[in-house]
Amino acid sequence: MTTRIPTTRRRFLSTAAGAGAAASLLPAPFVLAQPSKVKVGILLPYTGTYASLGHNITDAMIMAIEEAGGMLGGRPVEYVKVDSEADPAKAANNTNKLIAGEKVDFLTGPVHSGVAMAMVKIAREEGTITIVSNAGAAAVTRQMCAPNVFRTSFSNWQTCFPMGPEMMKRGRKKAVSITWNYAAGHEMIGAFKEGYVPAGGQVMKEILIPFPNIEFQAHLTEIASLKPDAVFAFFAGGGAVKFVKDYDAAGLKKTIPLHGSGFLTDGTLHAQGAAAEGVLTTLHYAESLDTPTNKRFKEAFKKRTGRTADVYAVQGYDTGQLLVHAMKSVKGDVRAKKEIMAAMRGAKLDSPRGTMSFSKAQNPIQDIYLREVRKGDNVVIGVAHKALADPGTGCGMS
C-alpha cells in the first residue's frame, strides 16, 4: 500500500477525486510555480513484528531532514512510504512500485535482510540511489555492492567480530556459540569466529537451533556439561528475551559469562529484566552513549515522537543526514547522480553513534562499542574496535 505524508491514503483519494485530479490536469507552468519535489521512497515494515523499527527509522529520517530546513538541496521533499511487511516474497513487487511506479529519486529501507536482497538487486539494475537503513546482510556491501547502494546501519559482521578479542582479554579461551540455524545466525557466528580464533580462542561447539524454535533447555544442559569459559549467542526479539532468561534461570550465568551481538539485549532489555545483568555485547551504538550529539538527538526524538530513540532511530537519522549532505552538494539537482554518489561516498557524518564515514564498499566505518548490562541499561564500558570497516569481501569497487 502506498501512502503519502502528510496526506493519508483515504484523504488523498477523496481529495484526488475532486480538486486534486483537476489540478493535475492544469498546464505545466502552473504546476512549476515552485521547484518540483524530491521523491524519497521508503520501504519499511509498518505492520507486523518489525513495525516499531519501521516507524523509528522513518520518523528519525524525516526529523534529520526537517532539522536541516525540511528541504533537500533547496527543494521540498515528498516521502512515498510503502509497507514492506518484512516479507521477502513481496519485496520485488514493492521495490518496483517505488522505482518504476513512483519514479522515486532515492530509495531507503528495509529492516529485513531478505527484503534487502531483493530490493538491492533491483536497485542495482535500475541505478536508483539506495540507502539501506537497517538490514545487516553481508552481501549488500560485499558480493552485491554497487556504486549506487549505500548502507547507514551495519553489517552483521561488524556487530560480532570485535567480541572475540574482548573475550580473550578477559581470559575466556574456550567458548560455545549458539544461534538459530538461518542466514543471519551463520553470518553472526562466522564473524565472531573470525575475531575469536585468530586471537587464540577455541570454539568448542557451535550449536544451531532450528529457526524460530525457542525451547533451549536441552542446549543449556549441553553447555553445562561442556563447561566452556564463555558463551557467545545471537538471537533477536522474543527468542533473545527467552534465551537470556533461560540462561540465567539455569544458573549458567554465574559460572559461564554470556556474550553476544548487541541485538541480544537491544530493545529487549526491559523484558529480560534482571536476567540480563552482566551480559556483554558489541554494537555500533548504545543509548547510554555520553556524547553531545547523542544527547541532543535523543531529546529531539523524544520530543517529536514521544518514544525513546534506539539504534534503529539512529540509523534512520543518519539516512536523513546523508540525503541532506548529498543533495546540498549538488544544490538539489537529482540528475547529477554521479556527484550525489561521490558526495555520499565522501560523507563524514556527525552521528549520534559517533563519527561515521563510508568504506569502499559503502558500508559504515564506525566504532563498535563494548557494552555491559548494568541496572537494566546497556552501559558503554569501552570501544571494542575503533573505526571498524567491514572487509567487503567479494566487492569489486575500490
Binding site: 516499531s52 532450528p210 525457542i214 528475551v241 539455569a250 544458573g251
Partner: protein, 290 residues
C-alpha cells in the same frame, strides 16, 4: 554423555512434555472432541500470555492475573463460539480452517492495537523464583517444576471430568453422535459452546502459566499451533491419555534429537509423527474409524 547429563536431559524431556501437554490440552478438547479444526488455537495461547503480562503489570501478581484472566478468556471463547465457530460444526473442515485462519489475523491485529509490538517479559512470581542446583554448573528453576505440577493437575482434572462426570459423558456422547444426544433431550448447542469456551480458557491458561518462561511477543501463537496439532494427532483424536503420552514422547524425541542429531533437530519431531502415523494411522490412543 555421562549419567548426570543424561538424567538432566531426561528431566528436560519430561518437563518439556508437560509443557506441551498443557499447551495442547485446549486443542485436545476443541479438535479432539468437538472435531473443529481450530487454527486460532495459537491465538488463544497468545491472548493468555498477553493477559498475563497486562494483568500482572496492573495487579502486581501473576496468580491474581491468572485468576482474572481465566474468566475473561472463557467469555472470549464463548463469544467466538457464538459468533463464529457455532455456525460451522456441520460444515466441511475447510470452512473451519478458513474461518479460524481469519480469526488469527483478527487476533494478531487486536494484539497490535491493544498491546503494541514490543517484546515483553513476565517476571516469575517471587515465591517460585528460586533455582535448585542439579549439577555443578546447572540448576533448575523452581517455576518449571511448578508448571509441571500444574500440568499434572490439568491432566488429572480433564481425565476425571471427561471420563467420570455426567458432563463428560454428554461430551463424549455428543462427540460420537450429536443427533442422538439432541433427540434424548439434551442441549447439545449449549454443551458445545461450553466445551469450546473451556478449550479456549485452557489454552489461554497455558499461555498465562508459561508467560514467565516464554517471553510475550507478537506472533508467539503461531509457534505453538503446529506442535499442538502434532501432539493431538500422535495421541489420537479425542483421547486425553493419548495427548498426554504424545506430549511426553515428543518431549523426549525433541530433546534427545537436539543432542544426538543436531543437524536434523527440526525434523526429528515430524519424522517421529510420520512413523507413528504409518504404524497407527489413528494415533496411539485413537479409535480406528469403523
Amino acid at each position: 554423555m555421562d549419567v548426570s547429563t543424561f538424567l538432566v536431559q531426561s528431566l528436560n524431556s519430561v518437563q518439556y512434555g508437560f509443557l506441551l501437554f498443557l499447551v495442547a490440552s485446549g486443542l485436545t478438547l476443541i479438535f479432539g472432541i468437538l472435531g473443529v479444526i481450530n487454527l486460532a488455537h495459537g491465538s488463544f495461547f497468545m491472548i493468555g500470555a498477553y493477559l498475563a503480562h497486562w494483568l500482572a503489570l496492573k495487579t502486581g501478581n501473576l496468580f491474581v492475573a491468572i485468576a482474572l484472566g481465566l474468566p475473561l478468556s472463557f467469555l472470549l471463547g464463548l463469544a467466538v463460539e457464538r459468533l463464529a465457530i457455532g455456525f460451522l460444526y456441520a460444515r466441511d473442515h475447510l470452512y473451519q480452517v478458513l474461518l479460524t485462519y481469519g480469526l488469527i489475523l483478527i487476533f494478531n491485529e487486536l494484539q497490535r492495537i491493544l498491546w503494541g509490538n514490543d517484546v515483553h517479559g513476565v517476571p516469575t512470581p517471587a515465591a517460585l523464583s528460586a533455582s535448585i542446583p542439579l549439577t555443578e554448573a546447572q540448576s533448575y528453576p523452581v517455576y518449571r517444576f511448578f508448571i509441571s505440577l500444574a500440568c499434572l493437575g490439568v491432566a488429572a482434572a480433564m481425565y476425571l471430568v471427561i471420563n467420570r462426570t455426567k458432563l463428560g459423558m454428554l461430551i463424549r456422547a455428543g462427540a460420537s453422535n450429536r443427533e442422538m444426544v439432541e433427540l434424548l433431550g439434551f442441549g447439545v448447542k449449549r454443551l458445545y459452546a461450553v466445551v469450546f469456551a473451556l478449550g479456549a480458557a485452557l489454552t489461554a491458561f497455558a499461555g498465562m502459566l508459561s508467560a514467565p518462561v516464554n517471553s510475550v511477543y507478537p506472533g508467539m501463537g503461531e509457534h505453538v499451533l503446529i506442535i499442538s496439532f502434532v501432539v493431538v494427532v500422535i495421541g489420537g483424536l479425542g483421547s486425553i491419555q493419548g495427548a498426554f503420552v504424545g506430549a511426553m514422547l515428543i518431549g523426549f524425541v525433541d530433546t534427545f534429537g537436539k543432542v544426538f542429531l543436531p543437524e536434523a533437530a527440526s525434523l526429528s519431531v515430524y519424522a517421529f509423527m510420520a512413523a507413528v502415523l504409518l504404524w497407527r494411522p489413528q494415533g496411539l490412543f485413537g479409535v480406528r474409524p469403523a
